[in-house]
């Protein structure tokens, strides 16, 4: 194809550039080793066989049915729940349910308390013993360490509560907009370097309800295959057509853009009204960063709009904490729609959209989240305002540097020990692959026994083969905490043989 921005020769250079780790886009996704894939499939096959056996025993009333039973099924109604998802939930998820969804009993800072729960019937029911387990927190999205009960932000939030009480008792458009909403939006727009911004009470709803406000039937949305569910639901609600392109693959995206402009709608060949490219700043399951410079080049060449979801990267990336735009040092006006959340780096809740004033004014009128959702609560907004102010001060810079330091140290040590770690070298989300379902549960339980609470994710959230543990690093983690975690990972990783990497030498922590 003549005239493509990234010809074949450029693609080879790009591959070499990605392996040369001095670049900002240095990412590594090692292939699954064959024996791990075989053992994973074997494990799932055995679980499936026993699942069928147990389902048969339950169906023929030899064993009692423990899960939710549809009472209308016996009366001749069509079943309310789909059967395959229930199969997985009943026979594989419930067996090891104690490693997921643990309730916590304190503020989710770097060190926190988990409630202890015991099960007598293999995780169908729990009883809470009343004790709590103290553990180091590697699961919370607390990138800058703002999840704390004391300090400037907490004091400001309490003062906000005392001044304005909890609820605003209205929507933004009907006597629900307060001074602090206007202040937050102006502060956020100055922080990001854009003309204007608008905030919402829920991050998921920001995506799901605002994509319909800007995209509609007759538009095309090109989204990355690893995009979050909120973006996909927003695309579906909007009524626009959408296609996915391979994860972070700019050649695939360019081919699809080219084809979209040349061919238009699938059957009628009418031209598309608008074309959007929807990407995320940092992908939370992969740890990879979007290729922003190439995306901006593509968007300018093909006249498409770029929507970037910076849920995990705002505050955590860039030398001033301003996200991926700051990380790559590009012009912020090149990204048309910047979206982000306050849940991860600011220790609060909610989401925002930022961009040109004309865009934000349009969203203010047309977005359902603005006209029907109640406006953000006072202490939550105060927490964000004080954390934004703090980020511009020297203490904020200290937090950003601490996070970057922790990220580089932790990732370097894990990779040097021989574990497979996905994603960009500088992203604070560290997914380490475990593959086998039994090893995943053993890892989680053994780490908790050693006082480290981690989040392991398996099949529905990730692909069937690639079950992983996702470490979320924080500026609140001190070097001794990271060392304790690394020692525990080293010990457990040796015991259950988690060193899968063939590109790096397997080493013990004491040999590094």
């Amino acid at each position: 194809m003549t005239g493509t921005l990234f010809s074949k020769a450029d693609k080879d250079i790009e591959i070499n550039k990605n392996n040369d780790c001095n670049d900002l886009q240095c990412e590594e996704f090692e292939e699954t080793p064959l024996y791990a894939a075989v053992l994973t499939y074997l494990g799932y096959a055995i679980l499936c066989l026993f699942g069928w056996l147990r389902d048969f025993l339950r169906q023929s009333n030899i064993e009692k049915k423990r899960g939710a039973v549809d009472p209308n099924a016996s009366l001749g109604f069509v079943p309310l729940y789909q059967s395959y998802e229930s199969f997985y939930t009943r026979n594989m998820y419930t067996r090891v349910r104690d490693i997921f969804n643990r309730p916590i009993a304190s503020v989710p800072g770097a060190q926190f308390e988990l409630t202890e729960r015991m099960s007598d019937d293999y995780n169908w029911t729990y009883r809470y013993t009343g004790k709590t387990i103290s553990a180091v927190n590697f699961g919370s999205y607390n990138y800058l360490g703002f999840a704390e009960r004391t300090g400037q932000c907490a004091t400001d939030a309490i003062n906000g509560l005392k001044s304005y009480a909890v609820s605003s008792c209205g929507t933004r458009s009907e006597i629900g907009t307060q001074r602090y909403h206007i202040e937050l939006e102006q502060l956020l727009a100055n922080f990001l370097g854009v003309e204007s911004s608008i905030v919402f009470g829920m991050g998921f709803a920001t995506n799901a309800l605002n994509l319909p406000a800007i995209a509609s039937k007759g538009d095309l949305i090109l989204s990355d295959e690893m995009n979050h569910v909120s973006l996909i639901i927003g695309m579906r609600i909007s009524g626009a057509s959408y296609q996915t392109f391979a994860h972070n693959d700019m050649n695939d995206l360019e081919a699809k853009l080219h084809a979209a402009i040349v061919h238009g709608h699938p059957r009628t060949n009418r031209p598309w009204k608008k074309i959007f490219i929807v990407v995320e700043g940092v992908y939370s399951m992969e740890g990879s960063i979007c290729r922003l410079p190439q995306l901006i080049e593509l968007k300018k060449k093909y006249k498409a709009y770029l929507y970037m979801d910076e849920a995990h990267s705002i505050g955590a990336m860039g030398k001033n904490g301003r996200g991926i735009v700051d990380y790559f040092n590009v012009d912020v006006n090149d990204v048309d729609i910047l979206m982000g959340t306050f849940t991860k780096s600011f220790g609060s809740a909610g989401g925002y959209i930022a961009g040109r004033k004309s865009l934000i004014d349009h969203i203010r009128i047309h977005s359902h989240a603005n006209t029907y959702a109640s406006s953000m609560s006072a202490p939550i907004v105060q927490q964000i305002i004080s954390s934004l102010r703090l980020l511009s001060s020297p203490e904020g810079e200290k937090r950003i540097c601490q996070l970057a330091d922790n990220t580089r140290y932790f990732r370097r040590k894990l990779v040097d020990m021989g574990f497979i770690v996905y994603g960009n070298k500088y992203s604070p989300v560290v997914p380490m692959l475990l593959y086998l379902p039994a090893r995943v549960t053993r890892f989680n339980r053994e780490m908790l026994r050693r006082g480290i609470a981690v989040v392991t994710v398996g099949f529905p959230a990730t692909k069937l083969l690639e079950a992983r543990v996702r470490f979320c690093l924080s500026a609140a983690h001190t070097r001794p905490m990271l060392d304790a975690a690394l020692a525990a990972i080293d010990e457990v990783g040796t015991d259950i043989r988690l060193r899968y990497s063939s590109r790096h030498v397997h080493r013990r922590l004491k040999d590094l």
Binding site: I46, L47, F50, L53, T441, T494, D495
Partner: protein, 92 residues
């Protein structure tokens, strides 16, 4: 994976001295051996996903596996010599 590659063995090798009396070292060797057997059993449970199953399911699966493997082994031991000999006769 030999006995010498096992992680606890590597660690304890460095702490071995000649000053221990014989029955104590025998005991520590036996203890290490049982730990190694337990570790092998754990590997079996993890790699076949039996770790996630209830004890009676583990017993069922292990019994079936043992039955199949022992039948295969017995048949091999009884029939292989005769088969190999007749194959050699057929092709020579």
């Amino acid at each position: 994976m030999t006995l010498n590659d096992h992680p606890t063995f590597l660690r304890h090798k460095l702490s071995y001295t000649y000053k221990n009396c014989h029955w104590k070292t025998m005991l520590s060797y036996i203890r290490r051996f049982f730990k190694f057997i337990h570790w092998l059993y754990l590997q079996y449970l993890l790699n076949t996903a039996l770790y996630m199953l209830e004890p009676w399911e583990r017993l069922l699966f292990s019994t079936l596996l043992f039955a199949i493997l022992s039948t295969a082994l017995y048949s091999a031991l009884v029939f292989l010599p005769h088969h190999v000999r007749s194959m050699i006769q057929f092709y020579s």
